[in-house]
Amino acid sequence: MSAATVAGADPIIRDARLLSILRWAQQLLMPVLLVVEIVLFTILSPHFMTSQNWVNIATNSADLALIAAGLTLIVIMAGIDVSTGFAVGLIGWFVATGMAQGRPPILVLTVALVIGIVIGLFNGALTVGLSIPSIVATLGTSAIFQTLLFALWNSTDVFARPVFPWLSGQARIGALPAVVFLVVVVYAALHLLLSRTTYGRSVYAIGSNVEAAALAGIKIARVRMIAYVILGALVGLAACLYSARIGVVQASSGSDLTMLAIASVVVGGTSVLGGEGSVLRTLGGLIFIAVLRNGVVLAGVPSLWNGVMIGLVILLAVSINGLVVRISRRQRRSL
């Protein structure tokens, strides 16, 4: 709480109204950008608006979607995780090796989830238990995961069969790839968890005001730990999808997912300062980035331009966010 806030009558309410209009604009930004983007690409490439292409987009971003969903919980609590990419690679190695050795799929899936949860607990222990800033802790674990993957890989590419056939994006339910349903289920579950349960409220409360959350009796360490475990399990699941989709695990597997996951969450409009956001917004950001990466190529732009687009969108999204915060601070007359 800033000490220098004060109540007034009508002007504050008027300002609040202005602010809610801005917030509304902020929420509409992503859908509008998405529509613009889709229209643009449809005009630029005749192959963009085809069912095959949408299936490609969906299957290619399913693993990323799972990570981004889990990461959203962490970010709402003002944390971050930069180790997800190599965690996917590391678990992917176990998955691929397990399948190559002909282990039962259900066992492989379980192992992937368990390793994911262990990784989540490890990150959680460092950030929650030992109060290391999450960016520093996960920077460290990311390096460790990378090295572990390298050591396990040991110069041998592991070719993976899909754990379950439907995980590779080949199997369809109706016209849609089965993985889409998996993603939808995960997002629906996390959305309900965040919006309809006491746990979800605790997540927002911690992100909004840790001290007030403690005062309200929320077990902060437990809530944060659970979020890391959820993220870990989703990373494990994502690793199954990833190895099924790519078909091979190498030393660099998964490395590009880290920043893309963070970008999806942020572009979606979840604030890295905590307290605000939702997995649905993340889904919007994710779709935006996935469509962008796909459409840019189809429109004939060299892939080297990808980063320019992603960078600009991140800056745009975060700038609008910042503008809202800035205006609201001005309206609140706080220092």
Binding site: N56, N154, D157, F159, V297
Partner: protein, 342 residues
Amino acid sequence: MKKLTGAVALLASGALLLSGCSTTSTSSTEAGTTAAASADGVKVAFVSQVEGIPYFNGFKTGGEKAAKDLGISFTQTGPAKADSTEQVKILDGLVAQKYDAIAVSPLDPTSINSSLATAAEAGVKVATSDADAPDSARQVFVSQASDADLGSTVMDQLAEAVGKSGEYGIVSGSADTATFNNWIAAAQERQESAYPDMKLVGGIRYTTDTAQALQEAQNLMTANPDLKGIIAVPSTAIPGVAQAVQNAGAIGKVAVTGFGSPKTAAEFLESGAMTSTVLWNVEDLGYLTVWALDQLVEGKEFQASNTVSGLDSPVTYDAASKTLLLGKPTVFTKENYADYDF
């Protein structure tokens, strides 16, 4: 509670660290020294472009075989990811360890030049192998096959598979690897002169890893429904491109060929997603490189044609460009890939 978590985390990170170290000491991939330590103490080394991929493993197998035959010691090492700075560091480290001769497969033609010069001044015999740095102090370049040969061979393979006409795409590795660019240029030249009915679409797609290669290949196929073939350049792109064709159910419709070790391509040669892969016998290249280093240490001159005991055919030497040429590229197909272990 807090103390406990602290202790657990500490233990865990310690364990991770230990496991990392122990794996290192047991695995001999990046710094294995052949058991046959030499009597005269000649030590030679090779710096690869990237540690441990099957291709350079094959190189090492050949090198170790040669070292054993020649009675010298051989070390192979390289960076974890294709990064010329790392490569220079490693090279300097080897010079500090007083190797008698060192060969490098440079990631780009200029970065290592000064280090090679320093090494040469220090009395170390230096060579390039697999990739060249023409303006450097290297005393010999051990070439697998000429860029022109490689480029035209892969294009011939593709042309044959697609019936000499139609659209094709190229998925390459990182844009700054000189050898990849040379091969691609040669392949395009061959296409323009020999297969005028074929057409490159989508430009050259640069990728950094398998996942990206997969997406690029997918997008190429979507954007160009008439696409008939794809050339995948490095070993990282091959599984991605082939997987994309396989996932799209386009086996037989889109032909894939490229530059990659037979082991990497094995799955896809078997499934038919790849028609062939072009490379050379990298074990022989490793063998030849170590032999050449030994020749340098011994102070022997190369002849226009050299008979190397471990290799089947004689090796030509071009004195003008100081290049030893292994021979023609090898084409690996479903029929013969199993004969090679790299």
